[in-house]
Amino acid sequence: METLIDIVLLSFLIVIAIGIIVLRDLLAAVILLGLYSLVAAGTFVIMDAVDVAFTEAAVGAGISTILYLCAMRWTTDRQKPRGNDSLPALVFVTLTGALLIYGTLDMPHYGSADSPAQTHPEVAVRYLERSAEEVGPPNIVTSVLASYRGYDTLGETVVVFAAGIAVVSLLGLRRRRPSAEGEEHDKGDPPDGDGPGSAARRDGSDREQVDEPPEHRA
């Protein structure tokens, strides 16, 4: 039964991934991306990794979908037509993929009891056997993340913090709404004074940013 669910979920993932690649409509692609995360969260639940599934569902299906949608306001919601796909690139990508898959053949099977990660006396075995008396929380994932590997989690938090600071300083959190008008003009693109027909004229040119609000083009 579990194998069946695995097969269904994984084929969903493949179908959705192909859909994302094929679709030119970015809005649909973003929604599919959220769906992808949701299905991925399902596979994590099947693997009993509820914490990971939780994160995937909240971040992948929730927040990042919204952030993509917000980011779409800054560009268009149509993908530019791709050029011709080159044959060497296809060969190269297939070769690399095949190499990577070949590399996984060496790895221990999923859930195998004698994989090094399960048998190392100072890692999994110790956490499972002694976390209750050493750390306490019934959820061993929490005790590993917050206590045994607290240093790593500190690093992760700093990474999240740094990412937030970076985005905020790049895009800017405006302090005052109305009075920041002049300053905004300085920060943004040089405003080119063309009217609302400009997006149509620019289509097909190599200019990446089309600064019309989405509703004009939809």
Binding site: I66, P137, A146, G150, V160, P213, P214, E215, A218
Partner: protein, 174 residues
């Protein structure tokens, strides 16, 4: 705007109003129940931020700005990291190693409990702040063209995707 026809979205508004407190409550549950079930600071931060963002999507960025101004989001980002690192420093001051919670209380288990609690709190605060800050940054920092064309009066910042209520006169302005 054919994609999101401008409507009143009454159902969305009512449901959102009902839902947001529970979303935030669930986030707090995940935050403080992470010891016993799945979850922890990161997931909780994301869920709480999602509550605010949902509110912002339906009622407009301005309303979220009033509840959590960008400055607060910025302070939260830093505060969380400070709480986390501060816990580590505190454990050093009390004679242990960095982030060694055993020394935080008389009983090592209690110390661990407090340590994990405050560390997870730090993660949650940072993640909430970052997510809300990202939303503010993406949703309301508009490029100048956009603002000029939209013809909105100064200071009225309409939400990113679907302005909740806009009079037909403004619609025809565009």
């Amino acid at each position: 705007m054919k994609r999101f026809p401008r409507q009143n979205h009454r159902v969305l508004r009512v449901v959102t109003r009902l839902l947001v407190p529970f979303v935030v409550l669930f986030g707090l549950y995940v935050q403080f129940h992470g010891d016993y079930g799945p979850g922890g600071g990161f997931q909780a931060g994301v869920i709480i931020a999602a509550g605010f963002i949902l509110y912002g999507l339906i009622f407009g960025v301005q309303r979220v700005r009033r509840v959590v101004p960008p400055s607060v989001a910025r302070v939260m980002m830093c505060l969380g990291v400070l709480i986390y690192a501060g816990t580590g420093l505190l454990s050093m001051l009390m004679g242990g190693n960095l982030l060694d919670y055993d020394v935080l209380a008389h009983d090592p288990l209690h110390g661990q409990h407090w340590g994990i609690f405050s560390v997870e709190l730090g993660v949650g605060v940072t993640v909430t702040g970052v997510m809300i800050g990202l939303f503010h940054a993406f949703a309301s920092a508009r490029n100048p063209e956009d603002r000029r064309r939209s013809g909105l009066p100064d200071g009225s910042d309409h939400p990113p995707l679907r302005p909740p209520m806009q009079s037909p006169s403004q619609e025809s302005d565009r």
